[in-house]
């Protein structure tokens, strides 16, 4: 009897607050998971970065010593940082390249769907496979790339990936392959939704070619460009798989980026240096945070307009 009355009361409490309580009930599992595995670890990393820790024993408080060492002339860190900058700048080429291919393919001829799928195809492959494919493509002497450049009398000593001057660029080119495909599909979708009346009106006004693209088409593609920008920046700063698979940071550490260096320090065979690794991760995070805040601000602005 008593428990029945209690359930009735609980039920009526729930009934009375149904609209207010339901969203929270639905959110609990998601927020719980996300907090434990994503939100809290971000703060834990900050905390760990102030310690020296081998991942097993006690953490030893060292204050900002890790950061001082990192920013005070760690050669590996400098190389990684500048490689990250190279990745960021060159990876953005994926956006115009993707737009170019999308414009090339935006026709209605027979079989065009097949061609679109084939151009998009590299994006579906895992980065590990793309990395392997390109490392065989770049093989010194026997790789197809070396064979083709050989026809033009270009000979890269040690192969693209064996030469510290070219290795990073070789990896970025491999990374661009799927990224261009992604940007292309974004722009194809965007082009599909371009307002035909505006295009016709502009055509009557005598706009064509570059002028049409710049003043009429691109403004309408802004949402696609925004997403392409977001995914390309994030992709550039997340580059890890390619480097791990293609060069493992070499030759002579010339292809390290922050994400790879962090992994190397934390789980290296010479002992785990989790504190120092966490400090590198924090620097990478702060670098990304600038972009994240900008993305969030743009999205928030759109949200407000939508209301």
């Amino acid at each position: 009897m008593r428990s029945e009355a209690a359930t009735l009361e609980r039920k009526s409490w729930y009934k009375r607050h149904e609209i207010a309580a339901t969203p929270w009930l639905f959110l609990v599992p998601g927020i719980l998971f996300f907090s434990i595995y994503v939100i809290i670890p971000i703060f834990q990393s900050f905390w760990i970065s102030l310690h020296e820790w081998d991942g097993l024993g006690e953490k030893v408080w060292v204050g900002t010593a890790n950061y001082e060492r990192l920013l005070g002339g760690d050669r590996k860190f400098e190389v990684s940082f500048w490689n990250n900058v190279r990745w960021l700048i060159l990876y953005l080429l994926a956006i115009p390249a993707g737009l170019f291919i999308a414009l090339f393919l935006n026709q209605t001829v027979r079989g065009i769907r097949f061609y679109k799928s084939m151009f998009f195809f590299p994006f579906v492959l895992s980065q590990v496979v793309v990395g392997l494919v390109f490392s065989w493509f770049y093989l010194p002497n026997d790789g197809l790339f070396d064979v083709i450049t050989g026809w033009f009398g270009i000979d890269i000593k040690g192969g693209v990936l064996g030469n510290p001057n070219t290795a990073t660029y070789g990896i970025i080119a491999a990374g661009l392959w799927p990224q261009v495909a992604y940007c292309m599909i974004l722009y194809l979708t965007g082009l599909n939704a371009v307002d035909p009346e505006q295009v016709e009106a502009a055509r009557l006004d005598g706009a064509k070619g570059w002028k049409m693209l710049w003043y009429v088409i691109l403004p309408q593609l802004k949402p696609a460009t925004f997403i392409a920008f977001v995914v390309t920046i994030i992709g550039a700063l997340r580059s890890f798989d390619f480097i791990a698979v293609m060069t493992n940071g070499g030759p002579f550490g010339s292809t390290r980026v922050l994400s790879f260096y962090m992994f190397e320090e934390s789980l290296s065979e010479f002992g785990f240096r989790m504190g120092y690794g966490a400090a590198i991760a924090v620097v990478l995070f702060l670098l990304m945070l600038g972009f994240i805040l900008y993305f969030l601000y743009s999205m928030w602005r759109d949200e407000r307009e939508a209301r």
């Binding site: 609209i19 207010a20 339901t22 969203p23 639905f26 959110l27 599992p29 998601g30 927020i31 996300f34 434990i36 595995y37 670890p41 971000i42 990393s45 991942g55 414009l103 090339f104 935006n106 209605t108 001829v109 079989g111 799928s117 084939m118 195809f121 579906v124 492959l125 895992s126 980065q127 590990v128 496979v129 392997l132 494919v133 065989w136 493509f137 026997d142 197809l144 064979v147 599909i185 979708t189 965007g190 082009l191 693209l213 949402p223 696609a224 997403i227 890890f240 798989d241 994400s259 962090m262 992994f263 934390s266 789980l267 690794g277 966490a278 991760a281 994240i292 993305f295 969030l296 999205m299």
Partner: protein
């Protein structure tokens, strides 16, 4: 339509375009085509330095047979399936709930929670690595599939929530109000009104998450080691050290590792692309 339809141009232009399409495609896919030809060559071709000439013999069955019967590849593939499928189910389930809560209800903190999910989805993996690895070790889940699945579900919930919430926003709201007026309980609105309308979003997210998780490499090497739990992306590296410099087998192995998401893409192309380009059109 931009650029102007090719049909409006001269015949010569049309023929040039039709000819340019396959050539451009072959150039674009050249690295892949190269690997595909590697995978059907006999070993003797590589020993003789015949990398790009006509294959000495057609060894498709021999090479792929060895991948399947002479290596740990089938185990890695099975691990990948056992990691990917539960992750897809978990992440889609969690995010259809969070997406529903954030898309349908107005309450204090709605936008804040929504932006927390988006922001978390953008962070570099490395900032999570040390604590997540530590947590997984402490839970006794290091080098298990469960450890990897739990993390993947949690992390993917960020992107999935963004996706689901925006999708639910586009549904006709009067439908939900009508159900409320009828006195339908809120959870029944979710189950019987909203969920059936979300089928396209569920399909799109499932194929996307399947591909993302199948292709994950970083967390596979951070949270697992060895053939008991490692998925195929990580397994391929040990596969490659088993067959060092045996290009015909390494390339066959890579192609096998890549096939499931490729099949998924071609089978569900429409949903896949709809999912990837959500938001590209206002």
């Amino acid at each position: 339509m931009f650029p102007a339809p090719i049909q409006k141009r001269s015949n010569a232009a049309q023929i040039t375009y039709q000819a340019a399409l396959p050539i451009a495609m072959i150039v674009w896919l050249l690295p892949l085509i190269a690997v595909a030809t590697f995978s059907i060559r006999p070993e003797s071709d590589f020993a003789a330095g015949n990398y790009w000439g006509a294959p000495g013999s057609f060894e498709f069955f021999a090479n792929y047979g060895r991948v399947f019967f002479d290596s740990d590849m089938p185990r890695y593939l099975l691990n990948s399936v056992l990691i990917t499928v539960p992750t897809v189910i978990g992440a889609v389930a969690l995010s259809s709930m969070t997406g529903f809560a954030l898309g349908v209800y107005k309450f204090k903190g709605n936008l804040l929670i929504f932006f927390m999910f988006i922001a978390g989805n953008f962070v570099p993996f490395q900032i999570l690595m040390v604590p997540v690895r530590d947590l997984t070790v402490n839970l006794n889940l290091y080098d298990t599939k469960i450890g990897l699945i739990l993390f993947h579900i949690a992390f993917q919930t960020g992107f999935c929530t963004l996706f689901m919430r925006n999708f639910i926003r586009q549904l006709p709201y009067p439908l939900i109000e009508a159900a409320r007026v009828e006195g339908v309980a809120e959870w029944r609105i979710f189950w019987f009104v909203v969920l059936p309308l979300m089928k396209p979003a569920l399909a799109a997210l499932s194929v996307l998450i399947f591909t993302f998780i199948w292709n994950d490499y970083f967390w596979a090497v951070v949270l697992t080691q060895g053939p008991d739990a490692q998925p195929v992306t990580a397994g391929i590296t040990s596969f490659n050290s088993q067959f060092r410099a045996a290009y015909h087998l390494m390339s066959a192995g890579s192609i096998v590792a890549a096939i499931p998401p490729v099949l998924m893409f071609f089978a569900m192309q429409k949903h896949f692309i709809a999912g990837l380009t959500l938001g590209a059109v206002k």
